[in-house]
Symmetry: C2
Subunit: 389 residues, 2 copies
């Protein structure tokens, strides 16, 4: 067994109604910058007002709102919000919403606490001297960012969409209240749920997986295989939402104890080039071909994943067993109504494939090194070809 470090210092308040505890929780500062999306739902459903009020109840904690974050968060907004944070004298950052505002909150917390430009730390190799404390309040179940130190920001000009992280970017507090997720529409629920699923499955296949990440990953996949179809079919099913939310938080812990592999590199290339493509949708599109490729190369892991999500592998030839996971995945995608996504619907053309290979190798090339077996450019092209509709 390899050596590893375990470190997830985040305090997670989990469960229906937990948001109310924000009024009594120990806060890491006196004045919050609340970072949220440009979308309408956090206002429409009253989440933003509730957070402002709960902070106020908590020893009169003041807050300032930055509400411009886009689904693929931009560097320009990180810069703007960090300047606002400094100008207003905020001493902690609250990310409210899905992965985008929480990732942005982390980036802003780092940018506000350090000299120079945020991107100097991401691609320039500069070492940050800490960050403002971050609180994450999730309204979707898809990225696990509430339980990991990672943030993905896109450079406005180069379109590089790069993951970055350091210990200081673990949220000090994360509130995962599935009641805030009841309003997420079915398709988005499915996209985000599969993002969580692939964080777990990739983390389980990664060469840096450990028995700790394995336990978390298997539990995450198991919960999603049972509850994601229910949460998609009936968004008001609080039990399903709760279990999907938990699976997502667990997959964030997998991100903190293992790592994604190249499936995420391929998808980041796709949605980097076509920003309208939701990250989860891109992952789903390539997933069957991707896992079919790796099934015979890591058979024991694939068999365990299949068993874990309820497949019956008795009376089956040994060489067929690893592929059962791919079939289970296909069934799960069918059950969630996302088995027929088309790359072409989002503008992707077959001619883009070589460029996508390049982008994947450039922006998140390191993840290829964690794959269960080497993936050649020809393999990637074949995965894209097999996935193309």
């Amino acid at each position: 067994m390899e050596k590893f470090d375990f470190y997830i210092p985040t305090r997670v308040l989990f469960g229906p109604g937990k948001l109310d505890e924000l009024a009594a929780a120990k806060l890491p500062g006196q004045k919050a910058l609340i970072v949220t999306t440009a979308g309408k739902s956090v206002k429409k459903y009253g989440y933003l007002d509730r957070v402002v009020e709960l902070l106020k109840k908590n020893h009169g904690t003041q807050s300032v709102v930055f509400d411009k974050v886009l689904p693929n968060p931009l560097l320009s907004h990180v810069r703007e919000a960090a300047a606002l944070c400094r100008a207003e004298g905020c001493d902690f950052v609250v990310g409210l919403g899905g992965g985008s505002p929480i990732d942005s909150a982390k980036a802003i917390a780092l940018a506000a606490a350090n000299e120079g430009d945020y991107w100097d730390y991401v691609e320039g190799g500069k070492k940050p001297a800490g960050a403002l404390p971050v609180i994450a309040i999730t309204t979707t179940a898809g990225t696990g960012t509430e339980a990991d130190p990672w943030t993905v920001i896109t450079h406005d000009e180069t379109r590089h969409k790069v993951g970055f992280g350091c210990d200081e970017l673990f949220p000090v507090l994360s509130v995962v209240d599935p009641e805030l997720m009841l309003s997420v529409p079915p398709q988005l629920t499915a996209f985000q749920g599969f993002d969580a699923f692939f964080h777990a499955s990739e983390g389980y296949l990664a060469s840096v997986a450990t028995p700790v990440s394995d336990a978390l990953a298997l539990q995450s996949m198991r919960l999603l295989s049972i509850y994601l179809p229910r949460a998609v079919a009936d968004g008001s099913d609080l039990e399903a939402r709760t279990n999907v939310a938990l699976a997502n938080t667990l997959s964030g812990m997998v991100e903190s104890t293992s790592c994604c592999i190249s499936e995420h590199s391929l998808e980041h290339a796709m949605s980097g080039l076509y920003p309208d493509l939701p990250h989860g949708a891109g992952l789903i599109m390539i997933s069957l071909a991707y896992y079919r490729h790796f099934a015979p190369l890591a058979p024991a892991r694939f068999i365990e994943m299949a068993r874990n999500i309820g497949a019956d592998l008795s009376c089956m030839r040994e060489e067929d067993k690893p592929y059962v996971f791919v079939e289970s995945l296909r069934e799960l995608q069918h059950a969630c109504g996302v088995d027929n996504l088309k790359m072409s619907d989002y503008g992707i053309r077959r001619e883009d494939f070589p460029r996508l290979v390049q982008l994947a190798r450039n922006a998140m090339g390191g993840l290829f090194g964690l794959d269960p077996a080497p993936l050649t450019d020809a393999d990637i092209i074949r995965i894209f070809e097999e996935s193309y509709k």
Copy 2:
């Protein structure tokens, strides 16, 4: 699903050779009080000298040694070491050894940072204002204390053996290096391994279990069922030692996310009254009768535990399935050479049973409230009776 909080802020450095990283790790202070046992092994095998040297290499960090801790650590030693810590101006505490010195290190860290007597916080209801930071370096795999906020100290006069904990008592850093465990003798390896096993099984059966603690508990039991017999049979088997060490750390995380149940109350009463009885041995003695009692009261959980440790439950009557776990446990104890422990060998008499019931209810009575079903005094007496040899 109930609501829950997840919080395990400890950084765990895990794996063979990891102790060396202490020379470069970020330390929480400038001068350490190293707390270790009165036993010989940490000196004989050079662990204490190595820790002193590694700290010195790390920016010249100074240390003072307190080496009087007994297997059942005493309040008087906590008081004495806390006074030494203050007098020497130590600003963090290193626990080196098994559960006893690490638990002591936590108690000393609290006592040194607060006014008044340590016991005022344990049984007097006083609230501590923080604690000195603690580093845990384990040389056994048995209590999981390196990944939880708990410490068990015995009052010299009243013989009350009481568990206590608060967020500040999570170690900030834990080094779990199985190379330091190669010298643990076979029987002690088995006693400690079963302590870890029962932390996991009790945490899995507790009414406060969550899907997070479940994942950690099942993985812990699975690893122990495979590797504990190997580690007992051949102490130099590093792969087995490593997996047992990991299972133990996982069971500590179970302690941090779920809780022990009354099995631990019963045993604390036993070893409280007969201090020569090793904690793990006491647990083993009562375990078969204890789990047989609860098997029909939580059948689904017992079936999952049995499956998880490799039992084949096919072609079996539904009402028999929950008892398979008890049989698996019996086999595991046989494989580890601890299936024939006798209470009478440690001085326990049948006449003690009513007093043991009383002690269990008094000192750790709260755990009974977490059992899968109410346990009456008559039930406890019957468990003791069935266990008596």
